[in-house]
Symmetry: D2
Subunit: 305 residues, 4 copies
């Protein structure tokens, strides 16, 4: 299972003003990422605002993505909803629509124990024959996938990988150590700003949201790490950290989620990748002053002239 690795951006979902998906822009995003050398794409994740999309839209997005990607890189699909059987239904759709693997969080809304999380993944694995990737994102689901939970699921074959967006780098490292002998398991960091160090620890992949804006940067970072040039990796990472500051431009006026993904969309529009920076309700888009500030950051980090 060596095909899931490297830079695998969570794909932003561009919207039309009527809140439907803007598929021409969506196609350009995918081509932009694949052209830059990304090793996979992850659609319908948190950065994709999956949680705002209904079942039909999700199916359409997967089918469209499968058609555009056309096997050039793996297509990883988020199947994110609150409870087990609802996730199973999404996973069946994702498989039928062309997903190579699906990404599953812990249950949410319902308060859940680690024991129930174990069963959650096992039930899904038993119900759908597609590789599962566990998604550790406590900021959204309000429970952490504990080290032992991840290791147990990986060892018994219920999951083939992890996307760790918990920010707990020490715990991530222990998962890497515990699973070092399991060559078919891969562990990816969801961080944008400690990618070089996650790779030094041995991470197999990175899923940075802001790679939608600058995929070349993360591919360069990945390549530097692969050849052991940690000084170059760090230098690239530091530039990307300065770019990542766009996510705080609108913070305070709008929520953190709207500020972050709104900034990705504003930047992608400025770079000509997507047509509009529309956000799903109740999120508000960034305003002109915020967009101007983002353009400054794009110029300062070499992305805009």
């Amino acid at each position: 299972m060596t095909k899931f690795k490297g830079v695998v951006p969570p794909v932003v979902t561009p919207l039309n003003p009527d809140l439907t998906v803007d598929y021409p822009s969506y196609t350009r995003v995918l081509e932009h990422l694949i052209d830059a050398g990304c090793h996979g794409v992850f659609v319908l994740g948190s950065t994709s605002e999956v949680i705002f999309h209904d079942e039909k839209t999700r199916r359409d997005v997967i089918e469209h993505s499968a058609k555009v990607v056309n096997g050039r890189v793996p297509l990883i699909v988020g199947v994110i909803d609150p409870t087990t059987d609802r996730v199973i239904a999404h996973a069946k759709v994702a498989k039928a629509a062309g997903a190579d693997a699906v990404v599953v969080t812990a249950p949410f809304y319902t308060v859940t124990s680690q024991s129930e999380i174990l069963d959650h993944f096992r039930y899904i694995r038993d119900a759908v024959d597609i590789p599962l990737i566990a998604y550790d994102i406590p900021v959204c689901v309000h429970v952490k996938l504990q080290r032992q939970t991840v290791v147990t699921l990986a060892r018994e074959g219920a999951i083939i990988g992890l996307k760790d967006s918990s920010g707990d780098d020490g715990n991530f490292r222990y998962a890497l150590l515990d699973l070092a002998e399991h060559k078919n398991v891969f562990l990816m960091t969801g961080s944008e700003i400690v990618v070089d160090t996650a790779l030094l620890m041995g991470a197999h992949g990175v899923v940075p949201g802001i790679a939608n804006v600058d995929p070349h940067g993360y591919v360069r970072l990945w390549d530097a790490a692969q050849r052991g040039d940690w000084v170059a990796a760090r230098k690239e990472q530091e530039r990307l950290c300065r770019l990542f500051e766009i996510v705080w431009v609108a913070q305070g006026r709008v929520s953190g989620g709207a500020a972050g993904i709104g900034a990705f969309k504003a930047a992608m529009r400025s770079l000509g990748i997507i047509d509009s920076a529309v956000m799903p309700r109740p999120r508000a888009a960034l305003n002109d002053a915020e967009t101007a500030r983002i353009d400054e950051i794009l110029r300062a980090t070499g992305l805009l002239n």
Copy 2:
């Protein structure tokens, strides 16, 4: 809008072993509640495990409930999912299927500001012509509906009521004070154990999950409060507090949610109201030892011989 008040239990959803809804048992639950004098029923809430049910099941539950209730008491329906437009879709279904009002939480999974919460409720109100009740349940959605948010929405007519399951009784009291002049707005507590005191503060209704087990107790408590007999209200409440201890019997072995609603189901099965105590995946049902302990509590509180 005086019809929403009094004891309005959130209706437990009995399941068959194959995880479909057990409608004969469901009918008995509704009859049990209405016979006991409850003033309304709230289906598809947290206690109903709404978050485990897909769209078709939700529609069937509402239609079944509307048919059984048949206008005898108001039918309040939870339309609970993570984001605005998904909630709007549920609300439209609920209205068509016979709901008298719908219950809406703040967005979840996505991290949301109070400003976005205001817009969330406004968008839903604009999209569907049915009374909205705000549901404050931070333990599930991880954000509190702040006093000013509730008061603003009530004053502008976006919501007609509140179900407060936050446990913040002081904040609830301030909402009661702030909205005292708004006679068409009603505020209900979701607590099981401080109902007498919420009524002393002026609460217009109560939504206690354990009223599925003992609706007569809560109706007696309500009646005592209505006639100003606070000593009797407190005495009834204290008995109900002892009954409520069933929710901790399985805690530790299973999650808090599974322990609580599992205990309601186990008790209702022991009392002959429902046929089985099956729980939706990944929740486990209570075991025999736990059920025996629950039966002891039912006997100690006068519900079982």
Copy 3:
């Protein structure tokens, strides 16, 4: 042990501009409280900003208070510091200086288990022969005294009472029920805004910070509850809730702690009880605009002409 009950305000510590204690003002605060009919005084609590005071100041405050109070009401003294043996040292001083009982929190700064909390109280009880009152204040110490912890300590005689500032009224009620047979144990709420309902539950006393500003109001509330006039109790409480809004006047500009106690001090200065509203470092005092707004609230609630 029937002497600890009723209205027992946590006494504000007035400061001189050089940050020393303003004892003439302090004397006036104590007389103001005792004249109003308060049933005890609690010095060196959170409202007293105990945590800002060094050992010598604490000793002086206790000795001064003992001299002024002179046995007219019980003198309860907070002995609040992070760890067991440091609390023991404070408790010995308090006993020698004239305290009738001491108030003890869970350890803080160090992260502590319920088992260690049990031992903490037992060690202190064994080391100093003075009645202990447990102080449940998770907002400061970041751990809750669980129901079983309080009940165990009370049943074994390690504590004689509880001051519950946790805001968890349901848990407080269970402690009242569990200890109903222990006639020598008393349980007090630290709330300002749900005192009537705490008394309906059976609370033995109340420790409202804002009683420094309006002790007569809380004594009236207490008296109404004692004679079972819950309508009058609620009405008085609702007026006090409006008064309590002073604590939010400066919130946002300064921290919540500075806003709350700063408001008490500003109001007490406006009422002529203390000479200055100086706050201990790094807290800032309220400004003129905030004080003017507080004066408006004092007028609206009948305290200022």
Copy 4:
């Protein structure tokens, strides 16, 4: 100000059975650390259980440390107590007793804003002429030193450095970037398990508690990083991660704090560095089974034969 850098362990405080400090053992700990090549020592920090020690003990520990260290390495001293003027008093004692710099946390017990935290450090800096190091430890003080707070204090010269025990590596990285031009400011990580990656980011020093057990390991790790051998640094770090698992051996039976520092003491006793593994009240020491398990880990990581 180049003298504060490198491996600076927070020094464990060995106790006698009567809870007094075991100074002969204390001396051996200091010699053990300095002999191993540590670049400084940090006494009276969280690992030193400073919060359990009274003023006299703290003074004695500093004076003893100054005498033993005798200028061979810098002596950094924690002056940790809840509020500004109490910290100032400790800082004056520390300066008089021979400290080269003092370590200061945000206020605790009192809930504090970032603005008050800024003032807290400024007041201390103005009151005592000794270099200040900010200590970011939200697990103990329950507030994070935000990036802007640290950067502001460093730029205005109120602090000369940071010990970051927050676990927020991304934020730490931004502080490093923001202060890159301030050559006299140094930033240290408090982590034990992501030291190699913190050094790759540019951290100037490391303060790992478990360096009390294996200072040679951290010095080797530091040296590897200094010469740019990141593969060797990672390998050493991974061995130290396996060693660090001793902190979880007793977790669950005792609190996390007792389990962690209790494990350090048990290991140091097994290695002959200190005489006893006594813990301050209310913490319990590790038991024999736990100690045996720790010895196994010491053997597996090459520290014990």
